[in-house]
């Protein structure tokens, strides 16, 4: 019994995080949204060099033979740093030993393929394009996609949950920083209980979502994966709503970076199975 990340895992997370901060992952995300894939592709290659896409690929196939916990650790960082590109598809759904960027639709759970304009579509034919609330996510319809096996789908779902936890943590950190320095009525607004209690509830929600993500990564039981997705979605969404509320009008602008995470969370809450789908899966598993 040792339900903690290893020092290798926390070290891996830290190095990925530093790499992305140095590479200005947020600027890369903005460029990606504007149709300039260059910075995002450069960052993709650097993260792929760290083994992110090959983490859970078996060693005898040239992968790193890591655990799903390793994958969850990486995806929390990807969420925290607003990674762009089809990471779920290329690292969780169809792990790429060579760092390739692939994408796929897996209807009905994931009806659109992400970033098919830059990534290799695994199967099917590209159809109409759609605009996501998260402008870094370029979605296209796909016809005749091959079915994806359940284990891979659960890995993708779990990676999404981990990414949501990372987004939620970032939104909380930025909110805490903001309310410490923003003054109204002569006081930092973070000294008001009405603000404190909302942020405390965000902290509590994230603290209880993460163990479900790590626990599910250990067992990969379908109901545990679904529980992780529901809890991570709820916790991250609460973090997004509170973040917007405590920032006020500045948080509502496209110019301020906060909105990038707010829209990312809203997109991921519904991606790879929404809460209703996953709750029904848990209910079935409970007998």
């Amino acid at each position: 019994m040792d339900f903690r990340l290893t020092s290798e895992q926390t070290g891996f997370a830290q190095s990925l995080s530093e790499l992305m901060t140095r590479a200005d992952s947020v600027a890369a995300a903005r460029a990606w949204a504007a149709g300039d894939h260059g910075p995002g592709q450069a960052l993709w290659k650097r993260l792929a060099d760290q083994g992110v896409t090959a983490l859970v690929a078996p060693e005898d196939e040239g992968g790193l033979g890591g655990t799903v916990v390793d994958l969850a650790v990486a995806f929390e960082v990807l969420g925290h740093q607003l990674a762009v590109g089809p990471w779920i598809e290329s690292a969780a759904l169809f792990p790429q030993v060579d760092g390739g960027m692939v994408t796929a639709a897996a209807p009905p759970l994931s009806p659109y393929a992400l970033d098919a304009d830059v990534a290799t579509l695994v199967s099917g034919t590209v159809g109409a394009a759609h605009v996501s609330v998260d402008t870094t996510r370029r979605l296209v319809e796909v016809s005749d996609a091959d079915p994806v096996d359940a284990e891979a789908l659960d890995r993708a779902t779990l990676a999404t949950a981990a990414q949501l936890v990372g987004c939620g943590e970032r939104l909380l950190t930025d909110s805490v920083d903001y309310v410490k320095q923003r003054k109204q009525y002569g006081r930092a607004i973070g000294s008001f209980q009405a603000i404190k209690h909302q942020l405390a509830d965000v902290r509590i929600g994230l603290d209880f979502a993460r163990p479900l993500v790590h626990g599910a990564a250990l067992t990969m039981e379908p109901r545990a994966v679904s529980a992780a997705k529901v809890a991570a979605g709820d916790a991250a969404y609460r973090s997004a709503r509170v973040a917007l509320q405590v920032h006020g009008a500045i948080g509502y602008t496209a110019e301020f970076d906060l909105g990038l995470w707010i829209n990312r969370v809203r997109a991921l809450v519904g991606a790879w199975g929404d809460a209703s789908y996953h709750r029904s899966r848990i209910a079935e598993a409970l007998g």
Binding site: M1, F3, Q9, A200, D207, A224
Partner: protein, 380 residues
């Protein structure tokens, strides 16, 4: 990272499960806050102690098993899963005993711990006062030095004193330095509730039973031998174990997991009505999150870490979860839910969770100020 139990832990689990299956009363005991229920719960404690299941983490010389923290959590899970009675000795074994182990003299340990373990002496906590609730440090009950008799004289009033209606001993803080402020100049006292000058006025709770009481102290003499820790150091004596891992801070997941399991069964037996699906799933999910979160905390503690302010994160979560699970069960039961029964009793009990041991508002302040680092607000 792993969630696997060792062979010895699995053996411990099997032994606990087997004993509980054979010994847990088939019918629930009457409420521990009635005279006959109190006695029945004491008898249950004696039975637990005889088989050395009452205080598994205590040393063997005091009826324990020297169980590890992991084993304690395992035991708690098995205990509640088996539907075993609530612990009438809870104030003593979870709240007071860590302080006795840490600050008590050998004589005090030998005098108090064995009868606490067997349930022969039940202890009542006496923290709150009429003007000192969440703001405990504002307490005013006094202790005056009596050198002639070698002890202290207590005067004042305590309230919301759990179990005091039927308990034998009490413990609490008194202001022993007349002009001291806040958490300075307090002393930690233990006292028999039948001592001369102590008046116990039971207070009926929402369930109609006297689960707590007011205590009035009128020149109550307490000998030096019943002072816990150094005089004047009461606050730090009390707080030295406030974050104790085997107590209210690390509340074991057993009770909540068992409640979630029963709620799932109740839902199934009602034909799994679709309109309750999400609430039942969220109850299971919440209990599972709490179980895993606790294993994370336990892993840190086993490695020498401290629980820190996680106790506040914890408390808000489990107390809200407990209320939500019972509300869901009552809503599922529909019109008959108002009839007194296990779910209604559990519901009434759960309603106290967000209030006692520091209200959830105070806990949220702790999370915001101590964990998130937000500015403290002005306090009077």
């Amino acid at each position: 990272m792993n969630l696997e139990l060792s062979e010895s832990e699995l053996a411990f689990q099997a032994e606990a499960r087997e004993w509980l299956a054979a010994n847990v009363p088939s019918e629930p005991l009457p409420s521990m806050d009635t005279p006959e229920g109190f006695t029945a719960h004491q008898e249950w404690e004696a039975k637990l102690a005889e088989a050395r299941w009452a205080v598994v983490s205590w040393p063997e010389e005091y009826h324990g098993r020297g169980a590890s923290l992991v084993e304690w959590v395992i035991f708690e899970e098995e205990y509640y899963r088996a539907g075993a009675p609530g612990r009438v000795s809870q104030n003593g074994i979870f709240l007071l005993s860590p302080t006795i182990f840490e600050n008590g003299t050998r004589e005090q340990q030998d005098r108090w711990l064995p009868s606490m373990a067997t349930g022969e002496q039940i202890w009542a906590q006496a923290w709150s006062e009429p003007e000192a609730g969440s703001d405990l440090a504002s307490l005013r009950s006094k202790a005056e030095r009596d050198d002639a008799r070698g002890g202290w004289v207590l005067n004042g009033q305590k309230t919301w004193s759990s179990r005091a209606a039927y308990a034998h001993w009490g413990f609490g803080l008194f202001r022993s330095e007349p002009d001291s402020q806040r958490h300075h100049g307090l002393t930690y006292f233990c006292f028999p509730l039948d001592a001369e000058g102590v008046t116990v006025r039971p207070i009926a709770q929402l369930d109609g039973e006297p689960g707590f009481a007011e205590l009035f102290f009128d020149h109550v003499f307490v000998p030096d031998s019943d002072v816990l820790g150094e005089p004047g150091q009461g606050w730090s004596v009390a707080m030295s174990t406030a974050g104790n891992e085997r107590g209210l801070s690390l509340r074991s997941p057993g009770r909540f997991c068992a409640t979630a399991e029963r709620l799932v069964s109740l839902w199934h037996s009602a034909g799994s009505p679709a309109e309750f699906r999400d609430r039942v799933v969220d109850a299971w999910l919440g209990a599972e999150a709490y179980r895993l979160y606790t294993w994370g905390t336990v892993s840190r503690l086993v490695d020498g870490g401290s629980i820190g302010y996680a106790g506040s994160v914890n408390k808000v979560f489990w107390s809200d979860l407990d209320v939500a699970m019972h509300e869901t069960a009552l809503d599922l039961l529909g019109a008959p839910s108002e009839l007194r029964g296990p779910w209604m009793d559990g519901y009434l009990f759960s309603l106290s969770g967000p209030i006692y041991a520091g209200t959830n508002e105070v806990q949220r302040n702790v999370v915001a100020e101590r964990i998130l680092g937000l500015p403290r607000e002005a306090r009077g």
